[in-house]
Each structure stands twice: as structure tokens, then as C-alpha cells.
Amino acid sequence: MPTASAALAHRPMDLLNRLASPDPDIKLKALREIKNQIIGNRTKKLAFLKLGAIPTVASILAEADSQLAQGDVSIADKNSNHYNYNIIIQSAAVLGSFACGFDAGVRAVLDAGAFPYLVRLLSNPDEKVVDASARSIRMIYQSKLTPKYEFLKDKKMEFLISLLNSESENVTGLGASIITHSCETSLEQTSLCDAGVLHKLLSLLDGSLCQRDASLESLAALFRNNPEVISKFVGPESGRALGSIMGLTKDRNPRTRLLSCMCLIVIRNSSSCYLQDIGIKTKLVHLLLELLDDPGQVGDEAPFVFSSLIMEKEDLQKLAFEANALDKFSNHLQNFRLHPKRFQGILLALADICSKLESCRSRFLSLQVLNLVIDALTHDSADVRTAACICIRSVTRSIKNLCAGYFMNEVLVIPLVQLLNDPLASVQVAALGALSNILVDFTTGKSTFVQCGGVKQLIQLSKSMDSTVRLNALWALKNMVFLADDRCKEGIFMELTASLLASLICDHDPFVQEQALAFVRNLIEGSISSVEFVFTESGIILDAVRKQLENTSKAEVGIQGMYVLCNLASGNEFHKEAVMQQLLSQVDNETQSFIIKFLQSNDSRLRTAAVWAIVNLTFPSSPGAFCRLVKLRSAGIVPQIRNMVNDPCLDVKLRVRTVLGQAMTFGDGLS
């Protein structure tokens, strides 16, 4: 009958004390009790970990192992051998359990130096010891924290092959898990393939459940982005191997079905030779949608596998749409108390389905679940918050709805602006992505955003130490000033300041430079007075633009900078002369204008932008056009343009002809 003292004896501290007992029976019982308490119980794992259980168990393992190694067999020793074996088995099991799904446990097991002991035990004559250590090592290899297995180092491949050739199911499973964990580079994939691993893994597909699942995961690791390895697997025997994997998509076990889908998707994505027909595509879509209904880990992982199938692939997104994937995922969103992993997966899958097709976005919006996605913006899990932002970013690609002002409302904007203050930069960047789209708004004047402090936040983030954050903050600002009215532009510019803008144009990251220049381009387009922005503070912005145009080797920076000059050159005489000064200030007998290098660029967008600037400088209705034309001719710019009369890009060719046509209006002498 349970007593108070019996219950007390199972407290973690007491159990640890009993581990230190010299009596092997007490030690063994304590190990078993700890094992039973921590299985599947993260809280208990943490509690024992904090009390230093892991190093204690690791040294028990080491001690028991060395005692066994001393090898002298007598009746008394047989008894102690029995205990030693069982202590080894239980302590290996305890260590494995600590490592299972618990990164802190993995770290502690590795730090305690238990790993080499566990590996040595794989060669133990006792089957049960081998199994226990194999299971434990396998759990350790499920963690990303575990150091990579270096296949290509001395004897490592040999050892791995010996694992795969073992009679023990747990050991072969371990071999496969090591491949899943550590096989990354194409050299490793090829070396494993050359060592005959494919054949072995194929045979494991006919093995036990555990072997099949382990094999499927390791095959995926071998196939990933490696069409040669795939063809070595699929090619022989008229595709029997592929048939085995396809067969497993009908397995009773949902995890096997999921892993076989995952494996087939890896093959599809890595090699254009296999599994490209509509039949298999449709089948995979339906299989994964079915697996979504699994209440456990399989259902949590299914959305991620679904995303890997459809990501960046319009044809698959269309199939998903036709299979009512949006409805199915949306229904799951409405489940109360979604596990964070599943929540993240569903949000990312919805984002992928809506990433390219307007029909998908329309359907999503019609399902009225956007509010659930908005709720996820305040979830405890950063992964869920990020996934919600990514979902919103996809949906807000709907130009039609942006034009209608559908997204510029408090319900959506306020929580996104709040995420600009999130402690994690990755969440901030995701929120900036969504806001960048929403800020392309043609109807409401963006006052909602301004009123909730959005502009201040964006400008603050444009000063971030993290260049990705700076880039995305500027991207949002750039979209915001597109076709914005003067008041809006003024408000943003005053907050941003000319000096900050100039320093962003000269940022060391060219992607940031590009966005800053694109911002200026939009800022000075529209009403003629907005051109004056570039002259504030003695023209530091214009100087910064020129500096970047002179120094950049990145086409996109050149394109945006040239459009700044183009837009400036569409202004009045003063503005056009300012552009001339930028173009010609460094020009002498040795140095040519930076615009010549742009006119000669391989990038047609850059050539187009450069020619437009010249169109504007020589625009016939302006009084100074002729003088500018003369100067541009002397600087070699007009002759360069003349050489582009048959440019392969139609847009460039037509603008070149505009320049030459304009030149002709000034009469002969220049032709």
C-alpha cells in the first residue's frame, strides 16, 4: 500500500541520492524510476537536469562498462555482471530519454562525455546492451545540436556501413538516422552512394516499421538536390526502387505515408526527370491534405511537407486550389488551441498557396479567416508570429485589393506595427514584409499607418544595426511614398531627415543603397515641388546619389540612382542643370561620365534609365535644352547613345530614337 515515505522516495533529489548507493540493486531501481518519470515529460527532464542527473548517470554508465571490461567471471562476478549489464542498459536508456526531443538534455549528455561510451557499447556482445545504446544514440542524432558525423573521415564510412549491415533493427535504424542527421554536401551524398548505401537503404524499405521510416528519411537526405544520386537509385530495375517508395504512400502507418511523400517530393524537386506528371502531383496533394487530419506529430509536420511540394510552383498551387486545400487549412486554423508547430505550418502553407495566384488569394479572403491570422500576430511563439506575417505578406500581394484599400485598416495595421518592436529581428523583418505591401495603397492616404506611429517605427528601424532590417524598413518607406501626396511625403521626410537619408544612400550594404535610392526616386516624383527635397541641407542627398552612381558596380543601384536623376531632370531649368552638374562634374580628358558605363551596361533596365535621363535633359520645350545637348555631345554621351540605335531591347531602342529625334529638332550640325 503506497505510503507517504514511498512517494517521497520518488522525488528527484532522493532518486539521485539513491543513484549514489553502493548497492547495485538500489542503483538499478533508481535508474528505472528516473527513466519512467522522464519519458515524455519535459518538465521532469528539466528538473533532473538542473540537479545534475546527467553527469551522474553518465559516470554510472562509464563505471559499469569498465567493470564489465575487467572480465573475470566467477559466481559472485556473474551476479555483478548481471547488475552491470542492467545498469548499462538502464543508464543508456535514461541518457537517451533525456536527449529525446530536449535540446538541453542533448547538450548535457554530450558535455558529460557519455557519447563515446555509448558508441563503444554498440560493439558489446550482449544484444540488449547494443539495442539500448543504439536507441539512445539515435535519439541524440535527432537533435541539430549533435555534432555532424564526418562521413569522409578515416574509418567513419566503414563504421557506418557496419551499422547498416547489422542484424539489429535498432542499429540499422541508427545508421540511417546518422545519414539523415549529417549528410549535407553533395560530396557526402555521392560518397555514401558509392559506398553502397543506397542498396542497403532500399532493402530496409521492406523491413520493420522503424527501419522503413528511418530509411525514407535518410534517402531524402541523400537525394536532396542531387540528381545523380537519384538516378542511381531510380534508374536500375525499371524503377522498382521508386515503386517501393510509392507503395509506402499507402502504408497503414501515417508517419510512413508522410515520410514517403516527403521522399518523393525531394526526388521531384531535385530531379526534373522523375515524378513530374499530373497524376503524381495530384496524388501527393491529396495524400498530404489527408495527413493534415492526423491529430499527432504527423499532422503537425504535414503542412511543412505540403509547403515543400508547392513552394514557388504555380502549377502545384493551382492543383492545391482545385483540391480545396485553402478550405482544409482554414478549417484547421479554426481549431481551438493549436499546437504552435502545427499553427506555424498551417500559416506557412497558406502563405505558399497564396504566393502567386490571385485566385488563391481571393478564395482565402472569401473564407473570412484573415482575423485568425491577425490573432496569430500576438502569439507567444516567435515562429508563429513570423509565419502569420509571411501569410499576410502573401495575401497582400493582391493588387486588386490593395487598389481598393482593403488592407489599410486598424485591425491589420496596428498589430503589424506593434511587431516592429518585437525583440527578434526576424519577426521585425517579417512584419516589415507584410507592411511593405499594405503601404501600396491608393485610396486612403495611409493615415491609419501614420496615426499608429508607423512612420516613426520605420525610420527607427532604418537605423538598425541589422542590414536586413534597414533594407526592409526602407522598402516599406519606398512603397509608402509611391504616389503619396505632398503632405505625406513632407511628414516622412521631416522625420527621416536629409542627413539620415544621405547616409542610407551611402550605406555599406548595396541592397540598402538600392532601397534608399528607390525611396528618393519616389519621393521626388509627382508634384514638381517635391523635387526640391534633394536640395535640402546643401544638396547632401544629391551628392550622395552622385557618389553611389560613380562607385557602384551593382546594376540595381545604378537603375534607381539614374531614375532619381531622370526624375530630377524632368523638372525646371535649375533641376536639369543640377543633373548636368552631377553627370559632368568629374569629366575631363581622362575620366568619362559614369552614365557612359551605364549606357554600355548588359542590363537593359539600366540602359533604359540612363537614356530616359538624357531624354529629359534634352526635352525640346526647355530653354536650355540645346546647350545641354552640346555639352552632352562633347562629353561623349550623345555619340554613345547614337551607337545604341539598334539596341536589342525595344524599350532602349525607342528611347534612343526619342533622344536622336529631339536632337534633330535643334537642326543640323549635331547629326
Binding site: 487598389c403 504616389l483 531614375y563 530616359w612 531624354v615 525595344l650 524599350d651 525607342l654 530614337r657
Partner: protein, 214 residues
Amino acid sequence: MPVRVVETSAPSQISGAISEQISPPFCTLLSVGQTFSGTQNVSSLQKDEAWRVNVRIQGYDLDHGYLCGTMEALNVPMADTPVVTFWEGEIVDGKNYTFFTGKWEASAEDDIRHWTKFPSFSPFLCQVEVDGGKSLDLSNYPCIFLRWKEQYFVNVGTDCGLTIAGFYYVCFSCTDGSINGFYYDPNSSPFQKLELKSTNEGRSGFSFSSYELQ
């Protein structure tokens, strides 16, 4: 004296292998933010009338042959204010859309009848009659053909006495950004002409802004 622009090569046909780029070229004058103004002739048997019209491009998705924007009609007799509509466009690119409309009560004959009113269309007529122009290489042709369909009124109610039931056949000139169009609605006067030019909105030259969706 203006330079005579040398005509680009005649539109070619692709036989056998399909060339990568057969869709119309991208033209900066037809990009987002660009504005056009001109008139739409709304004459009927009873009277001769023209409305001033301003158009702005708001969205452009080359991959899907899509564009959209607003159309603002001024001096509309029935309205107190300018009437603004939102329209969506189909770019005839041989991939997403052909010269055949296939909807909006426009038959193939209606299509041919309207497209042939654009002089720039004439080199394509024979091929379009055969297959809607699917196999034409439009990548170097200095005109872009589109259909524009107004979707809703932005600033007035549907009871304003105006209709947006029809659509426009449109020809855009890459050379100077001019737009010509014909409105088609079986229930309205035929061939109401839209004529627009690229505007500079008070500037002495062309200016370009842009947004990028993430």
C-alpha cells in the same frame, strides 16, 4: 526635321520550337504610376459628345498578363464630380491571353472587327484568324494589345446612370505611350473611341516612380 524611325522587323511566327520570349516587351511608359489623358468619344445617334479621361496604371503583373488601374471621366453630364472606375486589363501575350476574348459577349468576329481598326494590327490579321495569334512573336513589336474591363465605380454609386458593362480593345504604342481604344458593349453605340496620350503632369520630361511587392 524629325528622324524617320526605321520600322522594326515584321512580326515573326514561331514554328517548331517556341522561343523563350514571345510576349510583348516591357515598356517603361506602361509601368505603374504612369498617367495618360485624352478623350473618350461617347457619341450616339442623338448627339456628339466626348468626355475627358485620365487613366493611371496602378498594378502590373507581366507573368500573368495582368494590369490594372483607374479611369477618371470628367465632364460627365449625369455626374456632379468626375467619375472614377477601377479597371483590370489583359495583355495579349500569347501565353495568358490571345486576341480572342472568349467572354464578355464578344465573339471571334467582334474581336477581329475591333482589332482591325488599329492600323498596327494589320500584320497580324491572317495569323490571328487562324489561331488567335498564339504563335506570334510579339517581343519586338512596338505596340502592346490589351483588353481593359472596368470592374467597379470607385467614387459613385451604381445608380449614377452610367454603365461599365462593356470593355475596351486597346492598342498601346511603346514609341510614344499613346493609347487608342474602342469600347465594346452590345448594348451601347459601337466603336466609341478612346484616345489618350502619356502625360507628364506639369513636368518638362518623363518621370517614373515604382513600388515593389514583397
